[in-house]
């Protein structure tokens, strides 16, 4: 059993209107000193077996072709073998 965690974030240069709106709400709710908020997505993929070799390559491909759009987003991929 393995777990793959893929974090997808808008590239720094891409405007994030949702993050901006969240920043506004945080300030309205009394949080001081908010300089920026960026909103992203996290995918948690649980799989049977081990994640290596061609299977890991396929996951990398799917992370860049399906889970994220490289035109506007970056992703980070983390493999956790035997998650508790």
């Amino acid at each position: 059993m393995a777990r793959v965690v893929v974090d997808v974030m808008l590239k720094p240069e891409i405007l994030d209107p949702q993050g901006r709106a969240v920043a506004g709400s945080l300030r309205r709710l009394g949080l001081t000193g908010v300089t920026d908020v960026r909103q992203g997505k996290q995918f948690i993929i649980d799989l049977d077996g081990v994640v290596e070799g061609a299977r890991l390559e396929l996951i990398e491909t799917l992370a860049s072709e399906l889970l994220s759009n490289p035109v506007i987003e970056d992703y980070k991929l983390q493999v956790i073998e035997d998650p508790a």
Binding site: I14, P17, Q18, A21, L66, L67, N69, V71, I72
Partner: protein, 225 residues
Amino acid sequence: MSLRVGVVTFPGSLDDRDAARAVRIAGGEAVSLWHGDDDLKKVDAVVLPGGFSYGDYLRCGAIARFAPVMTSVVERANAGMPVLGICNGFQILCESHLLPGVLTRNDSLHFMCRDQRLRIENSVSSWTSDFVAGQEIVIPLKNGEGGYVADERTLDALEAEGRVVARYLEMNPNGSRRDIAGICNERGNVVGLMPHPEHAVESLTGPTTDGIPFFTSVLKSLVSA
């Protein structure tokens, strides 16, 4: 014999019927295509209609891109078949890499629904040849994620190659870079457009009938091809 223009229905498509109606009003035969079927039924062109395919899950158009019908559409588009993506269809064309860039959340965060003035800047694409370059039109616009984004080099290339098909006038409704409302591929057969020409084909229901030339253009381009 009238030319056959396919209109794809994805789960969550909204404007497939209006698109089919626009095709018929322009004089073509509208053919329904199903997302799960890679058979294009011998159509001469394809419209990817507006709506919320797959509920806009993941990213707009991201899942529709992998629908079986899209394999055929991408293959035929690369071989020169005219394809028009409207709104969600434009998003699908970008996700399919038939067009560069991507459509992002409106900068205002508001869903915009209005009659939008546009300037047609390309009158040679398969879908805009019945316009005169510089012609101004008004057609409905309705989107939540219509902000066109691409890197500066891509934007410069689109401008230099005359591939900005239409630009927003009077106001930019969604934060699109350089007021871009629509673009085409290098060959000019694939066009993506955020506003909705299929809702402006009859004076009873549309603000104008300015949308008709998009559909007559493709029928003429097919006859002359």
